[in-house]
Symmetry: C2
Subunit: 154 residues, 2 copies
Amino acid sequence: MLRISKLTDYAVVLTTHLADTAGVTSVRALAEGSAIPEPTAAKVLKTLAKAGLVDSVRGAHGGYRLAREATAITVAEIIEAIEGPIAVTECVDAESECSLEEQCGVRANWQRINDAVATALQGITLAEMARPDAPRLFQIRKADSAETARSITR
Amino acid sequence: MLRISKLTDYAVVLTTHLADTAGVTSVRALAEGSAIPEPTAAKVLKTLAKAGLVDSVRGAHGGYRLAREATAITVAEIIEAIEGPIAVTECVDAESECSLEEQCGVRANWQRINDAVATALQGITLAEMARPDAPRLFQIRKADSAETARSITR
DNA sequence: GGCAAAGAGTACCCATGGGGTCCCATTTAG
DNA sequence: CTAAATGGGACCCCATGGGTACTCTTTGCC
């Protein structure tokens, strides 16, 4: 499955909506516009605010707005705000004491895969994510030898 | 976090060990060599066998061996054997009825991200995964030209 | 000033499924 | 025949994703 959590999905959708709007938007409006249950949307937005990705305005007529330009927010940041550091496997995550890490030749390669995925997600901005007709696609390539040309054709 | 499950991690480690050995190897030997609890290793191997990635030999002196060359098994296959189809988000997975999918501009982009990740994992063989000093790295590129766009759409 | 409309913070609950164990049936070498 | 293996279940536990509720605090507006 290799899933991101639903909450993260919500976060992307919500920030996407914010990217479309100029001023601040209330949780209620955002929730309605995204078909996300309001309390849950509120929870997600609070988390995003703590992470500094959105700014909140309290009080009457308050709401949320993006803390930066949509072009300056990456999908990776949103994921990390909700789920923590991107770590494909446990052993890739910072302080894991894999019992036989000396032996484990697999680890280094998971690390590389993890880096590739992280880099990819860091390269995708919220602005791009907001456009269904995004002109850019993303591909992952082996960086190396001669046959890399063929690496896409599966 | 974007994690693959521990069981999948185990699967990669176990198949890696199989790639190093010629004949069949018993679950016990594999479990000991990988520091994975034996019953759990057994479970994983059964799943891999059902998926056709490893062959089992029953009876005394039985065990497992790779069903194909290590160069002909991809990491993507192992992941899918344990976790099912690679689907970064729910809406990417086959039969999801996302309430407002018409509206949801995010979906198409998740699909693209998903494809990129899947393609990457399909390009990594078990043989490569088994070598800690793998010479190849993996990187992700944005392809903003129209031609590459076509090459990914499956 | 006071009320109402917002978000902040936190505690809490519930269901799902990852992770793990066990048992018994079946196969096969010696 | 027996022991050593896997096949195929059923089963359990508990961490956590997902969702809810309730009480502060801030602030616009009459």
